[in-house]
Structure formats: structure tokens, C-alpha cells
């Protein structure tokens, strides 16, 4: 009986976390964009405008839920829920610290990527159900883009999995630090099993994974529909793309899903490439920095710091680069990223055979 209560607490905790993160994320995004453009962003609501997003969500909660007369009612109403739940379920398998993981799945990585692909289905439902040409155009673009970019992302991930030899996210995490049960070699020659720190992270264990990480990061931008890959909701062409017709709480859910997706893909990137919840501080001689900073509490801190750094880079990129044209988007995916990802996978195989 007790474990059901634990399940509920964890589920509610994860939901609360993603909701809070979305509020914080929207505020951070507005502030970052403002500072980049020499503005101040929100300043009026609360100190430094910190209550702005709370005011926004309060406004959205009070708005009427409008369903267009010509819409496909069932698809239209279900779509925001499916979009959000697909992202939210992805959090279930992600480890937060040593011994801290909501669901210990052997196929964790596979599960995460299977479940977040369902978001595409929700987006297609939203676009089709709205019965609006801008929505369906946005949804079609989104589906084409997400499905294409899953290929380089998938191969970048496979090159990690070939090094790690497991799909269990918790095992992949513990392999990248002092808690590892197997020998870790920095760049394939220096044994750092007891040193830990950033030397043991996957991108330093096998340096070609730096390229795999960049490929994964670019593809993850595309999968979370963020600039420069935001053609599904290109304001200047498609109004707001697939969520043009949504109001109030349904719109809030779509937004929540977008920001949760940002956090989720960044967290997966951190787990696979940047040492998950492991500390960046190595053991140096008698100073056991790594040992001192490795436990559940520190784990949560490290993974949140690393993930938020990646989220910050996503925002920085969004406010720097202009939007891709559709053909450029596909050319980048199929002509540059996919061959590079294949090359990374090949190097991973060779690395595994000869250097580990």
C-alpha cells in the first residue's frame, strides 16, 4: 500500500517541478532575451518583474476555453493533454542522483525516446483538430522536422550506448564518476576510476562523443521546436502554428510541454554526455573533492546546475540565430548531421574494440 503513496508523491512532485520550471523558464527566457536586446524585460510585477509569469498563469486560468465551431472536438480537446503527458512521462525514467530515480528501467533510454516521440502525435492532432490552415501547416512541419531529427539524435545516442553498453540511465550515470564498477579511462589511456570528476564524463572518456554531443544538442533543439528550428510555430508565417486556436488552460498546457521538453532533452543530454549527477570536481591527491561531493543531495544539485546551463545555452541560441528555411533544415539534418552521427557511431565501435 505504502508504495502507491510513494508513486503519487513522486508523480505530483515531478508535475510540480515541471510546472515551476515552466514558470521560471518563461521568466528567464524573457529576461535573457531582453538583456541580449539591451532591454530590461518585465520590471513592473513584483521585484524585478519576478511575479510576471505567476500573473500570466493566473490570467490564463481565468480565460474561456474556446473550441472553434469547425474543429474536430475530440482531437482538439485531447491534443494538449497528450502533448504534455508525453513529455511528462519522459521524466519518469530520468535519474536525479545516486539511488534517486523515479523508475529503474533497464530500457530507460529507449523508453524516454519512445515516449517523447508521442508528442508528435499530439501536435498532429492539435493541427488537424483545429481545422485551420496555419495549424495544419505547422503540425505537418513539426512532424516532418521531429521525425527527421530523431535520426541524427538517435545515432548520437547509439554512439554513447556503444561505449556504455547499457540502456539503463542510472547505470550510464554511475559509469561516469567515482561510483563506477568498471575501469574508466580518460581519452582511452589514463585510468581515472578513483579520480572521477569531469575526467570521467562520457565526452572525455571518448572525445569523439563531443561531436556526438553537439549533434544531439542541435537535434534536441529541433525536437523541442525551438529557434532556430521553430518553423512549426513561425510567428511571421503561421501565426502560432499548431497552437493558433488554443486558449486559456489548453494553451498553458502546450506551453508547459514546450518548457518541460526543453528541460527533458537537456537533462537527457547531461545524463548521456556530461556526467549526469556526477561532480565535476576530481579527487586530487589527499583532497577528495569528488568523494565529498558525491551523494544524493549533491547529485540533485549537480544535475540541475548542468541542465539549467544547457537550457540557458538553448535560450542564448534562440535569441541569436534566425529561423531556418525548410529546405535548409532538411539539408542540415540529412547532409551534415546524419553522416556525422554515423561517423561517430563507427568511431564508437572501433573505440570499444581497441581502447576499452
Amino acid at each position: 500500500m505504502n508504495f502507491y503513496i510513494t508513486y503519487f508523491i513522486i508523480a505530483i512532485g515531478l508535475f510540480g517541478f515541471s510546472a515551476l520550471f515552466a514558470l521560471f523558464g518563461v521568466y528567464a527566457e524573457r529576461k535573457v532575451s531582453a538583456f541580449i536586446q539591451d532591454r530590461l524585460g518585465p520590471t513592473e510585477t513584483g521585484k524585478y518583474g519576478s511575479l510576471q509569469t505567476f500573473a500570466d498563469i493566473l490570467k490564463m486560468l481565468q480565460k474561456e476555453l474556446i473550441t472553434p465551431a469547425a474543429a474536430d472536438k475530440l482531437l482538439f480537446i485531447l491534443a494538449p493533454a497528450i502533448i504534455f503527458i508525453a513529455v511528462y512521462l519522459g521524466f519518469a525514467a530520468l535519474p536525479w542522483g545516486p539511488g534517486l530515480v523515479p523508475a529503474k528501467l533497464n530500457l530507460g533510454l529507449y523508453y524516454v525516446f519512445a515516449i517523447i516521440s508521442i508528442e508528435t502525435l499530439g501536435i498532429l492532432m492539435a493541427g488537424w483538430g483545429s481545422n485551420n490552415k496555419y495549424s495544419i501547416l505547422g503540425a505537418m512541419r513539426s512532424a516532418a522536422q521531429i521525425i527527421s531529427y530523431e535520426i541524427p539524435a538517435g545515432f548520437a545516442i547509439i554512439s554513447v550506448v556503444m561505449i556504455a553498453q547499457t540502456l539503463n540511465l542510472q547505470t550510464i550515470s554511475s559509469q561516469q564518476g567515482i561510483l563506477s564498477t568498471e575501469t574508466i579511462k580518460f581519452s582511452g589511456f589514463w585510468d581515472v576510476t578513483s579520480t572521477g570528476g569531469f575526467f570521467a564524463w562520457n565526452i572525455f572518456r571518448a572525445p569523439h562523443l563531443i561531436i556526438a554531443f553537439v549533434i544531439y544538442f542541435i537535434a534536441s533543439l529541433a525536437e523541442s521546436n525551438r529557434a532556430p528550428f521553430d518553423i512549426p510555430e513561425a510567428e511571421s508565417e503561421l501565426v502560432a502554428g499548431f497552437h493558433t486556436e488554443y486558449t486559456g488552460l489548453r494553451f498553458a498546457l502546450v506551453f508547459l510541454a514546450e518548457y518541460s521538453m526543453m528541460f527533458l532533452v537537456s537533462m537527457v543530454g547531461v545524463i548521456l554526455f556530461l556526467g549526469a549527477w556526477n561532480t565535476p570536481l576530481p579527487n586530487i591527491g589527499p583532497v577528495h573533492l569528488a568523494t565529498w561531493t558525491t551523494n544524493a543531495g549533491w547529485g540533485i544539485l549537480w544535475i540541475i546546475i548542468k541542465t539549467l546551463t544547457l537550457v540557458g545555452i538553448q535560450m542564448w541560441i534562440r535569441w541569436t540565430l534566425p529561423r531556418f528555411r525548410v529546405d535548409q533544415l532538411m539539408a542540415l539534418c540529412w547532409k551534415v548531421l546524419t553522416p556525422l552521427a554515423f561517423a561517430c557511431m563507427l568511431i564508437s565501435g572501433v573505440w570499444r574494440l581497441f581502447l576499452m
Binding site: F35, Q37, D38, R39, L40, W316, W319, T320, L321
Partner: protein, 199 residues
Amino acid sequence: MTNDIMTNIIKGISTTLKGLSITFRHLFASHKKRELLPASDNNYFKQLEGTNTIQYPHQKLPIPEVGRYQLDVEMDDCIVCDLCAKVCPVNCIDIESIKATEAIGQTSDGTTKRLYAAKFDIDMAKCMYCGLCTIVCPTECIVMTNQYDKTVFQLSDLTYQFSDMSPEMAAEKRKEFDVQQAERQAAKLAAMQKKEGGA
């Protein structure tokens, strides 16, 4: 062919890094509040580096006193000559005058006033801010002010009414004038009859 692709890729990466470095610099660069100088100041354009945008309702840029923003009429000085309404290219000034029975006073520059303004409306929604009306005005009673933040909730509020005459008063003045005209007419008639009778 392969060379082209490689140069494209290298150019793509280098330009992206360049752009990212520019936005990164701006992310931390502009934390100074903007000093409020008029546009005529020598340092005005140097201020654009490293400062935030103007926080408008809290900060306002100084503007020249002779700005051309809103029309204003000093009714005491107006002789209701209708020149401004005639010169206006967009017909935004609407004047209705009543002749007075006698001189009703003087403007501050000593011109005698002989007309009442029953209506002096300026539709600022139509105004194109050319300032021609201020040039033709013989008594310089219509001027443009430096008031620029004029927001109203109803379109009709943009029609400024400068006349201070009530409709009753206007009707009374009209009646007085009509009576005077009638008296004059009668006097004229009597004089003519007298003349004819005398002849």
C-alpha cells in the same frame, strides 16, 4: 564540390560563433541606466552604447519647448477670423462664428474682437501636424505645444472643443444680432421712406 561543402560548414560554424559572441557580450553589457539628454546634445548618440532602452513612463526624454505635438488655442486672443480653418489641408478645424452687436474687447496684441466663436473644434485624429494654422493666425492664438502623450479612451475625446460659449448663450447672442439687424433694417427703411416722402 566537397570543398564547397567544407567551406560552407566552416563558414556556418564561424558565423554562428561570431553571432553568439555578440549576443553574449550584450547579455552582460548594458546595465547602465540611460541618462536623459535631448537629441540636440552632442553626447546623445554616444549614449546608445552599453545602456538600456528608455523606461518610458518612468523616464522621459527632454523635448524642445516648440515641439509640434498638440494644438492649443488661447480663446481670449482669438478674433474668429476663420483663417486657420481655411488653410487646414485636412479640414480638421471647425469654426462657427456669430457677429457681435459691438466690439467685444481686445486681444493681448490690441486687435479688436468683433466675432463670437460659437464653435471652435479641432479634430486631433484628423490633424496631420503641418502647423500651417499656427503660421496664418494673425493674433498667434493657435499654437502647437510640447504635450505628446495624449491617450484617450473614446475617439470623440480627440475632438478638442475650445469654445467656452454655451448653446443658450450662443442663441442669445444670435438673437441680439438679429434684433440689431432688424432694427437697422427698420431704421434704414424709415430713412428711405422719409427720403421718398420728402421728395
